[in-house]
């Protein structure tokens, strides 16, 4: 079928107009999609008693069953009106080092490195508990997570594991990422984050080392930041999360 618009062909004119409308929509949504942040893509389950409050506030002849809405991890923070989302609170013990990164802008990886996760990660009911299992070896397992690319469009790796272990009095994160490709020679690197249950703050633990071991800051409570996130970051000197998550999981 020819794409040429024939002025005397109403069907072709209508098709051309439809194509223009589609193109306009595409431009509009692409622009919006480029602004997506990790916060935009995570849904929190409302408190379990919220439906009851709604139901009792409306006059109903019959009371329906409580709708099934996934319950996310329990939050016990009591923040006032938070700062705008544009100021994502990337509290990073290594941020000072990160800001010294050479500011280089490179677009040559963009076709291969898919940008910005589009899929939301619903924080499902986990009970919010982090358990400590008893092990016989020296390092005590505190919490663990299977991290996957489920819901994430970036296809760098299928899955991995993240374990929080105690070495004496110190906590560290042990990452096993068997199928993550090397970034050697590329203008990008992998960074590991821990995100809180309110999706307000995230802590950067820095570059993913080849050893897979990342020491946790003394003042970081893993129960307050249970979401482990691995992102791919360009070498642009920007310390904030790129929005390009490649693996994610919740510590349990």
């Amino acid at each position: 079928m020819s794409d040429e618009w024939l002025p005397d062909d109403p069907a072709a004119a209508e098709s051309a107009e439809a194509d223009r409308q589609i193109e306009d929509l595409s431009v509009e949504f692409r622009e919006l999609a480029r602004e997506l942040t990790p916060q935009d893509m995570i849904l929190l389950a409302p408190p379990p008693d919220l439906w009851t409050a709604i139901d009792t506030s409306t006059v109903r002849p019959e009371r329906p069953e409580a709708p099934s809405v996934s319950r996310g991890p329990t939050s016990d923070t009591g923040d006032a009106i938070a700062e705008p989302a544009s100021k994502r609170q990337a509290v990073s013990p290594t941020s000072a080092a990160q800001t010294t990164r050479t500011a280089r802008r490179s677009r040559r990886l963009r076709p291969a490195w898919i940008a910005a996760a589009a899929a939301a990660v619903a924080l499902v009911a986990t009970g919010g508990t982090i358990f400590a299992s008893q092990r016989n070896n020296a390092d005590q397992l505190v919490a663990q997570a299977e991290i996957t690319n489920d819901g994430l469009p970036v296809v760098f790796a299928e899955s991995g594991t993240a374990e929080v272990l105690r070495d004496g009095t110190d906590l560290y994160l042990d990452l096993e990422l068997p199928d993550l490709p090397s970034t050697t020679g590329e203008d990008a690197f992998y960074e590991v984050w821990m995100i809180d249950t309110d999706v307000v703050g995230m802590v950067s633990l820095g570059v993913v080392p080849s050893s897979g071991r990342v020491d946790l800051p003394d003042d970081l409570d893993p129960t307050a930041f249970p979401v482990v996130d691995i992102s791919v970051e360009p070498l642009d000197g920007n310390p904030t999360h790129s929005g390009q998550s490649i693996l994610r999981g919740v510590l349990q």
């Binding site: 389950a45 019959e62 939050s75 076709p111």
Partner: protein
């Protein structure tokens, strides 16, 4: 979803519960972007109760219930900003002149609108059929051309184009609102 929208408008028993199950997380998460847990819960409750009581003002044939609910939520958040703005001790550095107040509220309004649009877009993309979602993600986020998407996915170019066309129309439908939300 369109059928649920109509059932909601008609006041069918159980429709509110289904609407809440469908959109409760999104509205609550949106409120939670600006509010503490307790206040976000109160505002979310207010949104659904208000929407239910004003459901006759929603035309299910002209727009998306989801967008209408989010617009109500945005208005509630703006109301809270106005309340906060009227407490001088918490609004330091800004005079109470009408211009300053309006400019600041307008900024909040624009930003809240943008946040809502982004969250609704992310949700709508997630709801697309798997193949269409993959195609849209490759188009939006990796900025591949139709031919590059076809090569990447192995799909015929015609399928890629039709998936994109249908998906864009679906996204537009999901993000369209044509209702007055003032006084809701």
């Amino acid at each position: 979803m369109a059928d649920l929208d109509h059932r909601f408008v008609s006041g069918e028993p159980g429709a509110l519960a289904e609407v809440y199950a469908e959109h409760g997380s999104l509205v609550y998460s949106y409120c939670r972007r600006r509010l503490d847990e307790e206040t976000a819960k109160e505002v979310t409750q207010d949104v659904f109760v208000s929407a239910w009581r004003a459901r006759d003002r929603f035309d299910a044939d002209r727009g998306s219930l989801r967008t209408w609910l989010m617009a109500i939520a945005k208005n509630r958040l703006i109301d809270l900003y106005r309340q906060q703005a009227r407490r001088p001790q918490t609004f330091s550095g800004v005079t109470e002149s009408g211009v300053d107040l309006v400019d600041t509220i307008a900024d909040h309004d624009d930003e809240l609108e943008r946040v809502a649009s982004r969250m609704m877009l992310a949700t709508a993309i997630r709801e697309l059929p798997e193949r269409a979602r993959t195609v849209i993600e490759l188009s939006f986020f990796s900025q591949l051309t139709h031919h590059e998407i076809a090569e990447t996915t192995g799909l015929p170019i015609g399928t890629v184009k039709s998936d994109i066309r249908r998906s864009l129309l679906k996204l537009k439908q999901s993000l369209t609102t044509a209702h007055e939300v003032a006084n809701v």
